[in-house]
Amino acid sequence: MRLNGKAAIVTGGGSGIGRATAVRFAEEGAKVAVSDIDEAGGEETVRRIREKGGEAIFVKADVSDSGQVKQLVQTAVEAFGGLHILFNNAGIGHSEVRSTDLSEEEWDRVIDVNLKGVFLGIKYAVPALKESGGGAIVNTSSLLGIKGKKYESAYNASKAGVILLTKNAALEYGKFNIRVNAIAPGVIDTNIITPWKQDARKWPIISKANALGRIGTPEEVANAVLFLASDEASFITGATLSVDGGGLTF
């Protein structure tokens, strides 16, 4: 039980990597506040955790809304008596178009959720983590925060931003015993890649564009997040862990 007695928040916990990680955290003994804008998805994650004997609550929150993030942290702290782990994971994709064709509204929404959401999570969780004597923050970046891809302008920019925001927070809060790291997943079997899967021509290429020649599962990413959140990663901070099946090797 690597997270025994720890309290955690997982944003975007209603599906995909967030759900798998919330479940994995709970399996290792953590109490988990599952957050999402999708109520049904979030409640389902909580149900799965409780079914296995774990402890979890659902807190509906839009990570791009400062008041709701503040409330999320407060609710988790009140429910669990403290906070040790924050997984800033909520993220969205956008229309597969060139930046000349991407609407300003869509750009703003992607940056608000993927990047500002991480900022707000850090902003409101750090005081609670300090109060608990330290802890760990893990942010979800992406292989596309490192590598460029056509028609992914806002997504590329938002996820690259997460990597530097991670380094910045690692510097600012290291002395409070708060470690801050990012994961950079490659192509993982979640809702966000549904549009790619429908492209019969490109999907066979995209899904094999890494050394292992397959897409990853949310559970495989959850294991990496668990590792970074646990004491096993006690000397890792400011780092970005690529969990991409070798997507960066070529």
Binding site: L241, V243, G246
Partner: protein, 256 residues
């Protein structure tokens, strides 16, 4: 117990990160073959493992990892004794502190040999054993190379070491590509300032330690066990979707 029934080879298993890694893998059930040049030092690690309750086993194999014949001897030994190999940790490393204009060709060659050529020799010679195993049974198999923060950043008077470690990071990616078809993952770790025999002299200098602490986000140097934990993670099935990655374990030194 992530390494029950696993056979692991750790080079440079006599001290520092290698020793801590061997202990960590054995704690989780692995049979560890400690490889190094000095039998006595390897024996000390082996005895520590043997004394641990519920741990795996430890064996000692004396070999110079820069010598093809001796590495071949290691492969023959592992094949004969265990018939399989699941985890390979290429950890052996050395360095000297010498200014560029004073660096001798011999020093350059020695450092390239132990830090980089050993990865080539040991991985190439032991990989067939892992591949044969992979053809027999589906199991977690992984290589972890110990690179360094110095592979990213120039340090004080270690140009030969920095170049070799940058080579290890790159070689890791190539190996990841070549061994992926056999289900063998290859990753590296890049430790920052960690208390080991290699850094002992530098870390006796109080001013140097203060400077490291001041420039590290976590305000301290690391312990070998903190690197061993990362190597164990990368070697385990928990890292099943990781290959070709380098994990920086430097307490946040490289950020600035």
């Amino acid at each position: 117990m992530r390494f029950s029934n696993a056979v692991a080879v750790v080079t440079g298993g006599d001290s520092g990160i290698g020793r801590a890694t061997a202990i960590r893998l054995a704690q989780e059930g692995a049979t560890v073959i400690l490889v190094g040049r000095t039998a006595a030092k390897l024996e000390t690690t082996a005895q520590t493992i043997e004394r641990m309750e519920g741990a795996g086993k430890a064996e000692v194999f004396v070999a110079d990892v820069t010598n093809r014949e001796q590495v071949k001897g290691l492969a023959d030994y592992v094949r004969r004794q265990h018939g399989d190999l699941h985890v390979l940790v290429n950890n052996a490393g050395i360095s000297t502190h010498t200014k560029w204009l004073e660096l001798t060709e011999q020093e350059w060659d020695d450092v390239q040999q132990v830090n980089m050529k050993s990865v080539f020799l040991v991985s190439q010679t032991l990989a067939p054993l892992m591949i044969e195993g992979a053809k027999r049974e589906r199991a977690n198999r992984a290589v972890v190379n110990v690179a360094s923060l110095s592979g990213y950043q120039a340090g004080a008077h270690i140009p030969h070491y920095s170049a070799a470690k940058a080579g290890v990071i790159s070689l890791t990616k190539s190996l990841a590509l070549e061994l992926a078809p056999y289900g063998i993952r290859v990753n590296s770790v890049s430790p920052g300032f960690v208390e080991t025999p290699l850094t002992e002299r530098g870390l006796q200098n109080e001013r140097f330690v203060k400077a490291v602490e001041r420039n590290t986000a976590l305000r301290r140097v690391g312990a070998p066990e903190e690197i061993a934990n990362v190597i164990a993670f990368l070697a385990s099935a928990e890292a099943s979707y990781m290959t070709g990655s380098d994990v920086l374990v430097d307490g946040g030194w490289l950020i600035t």
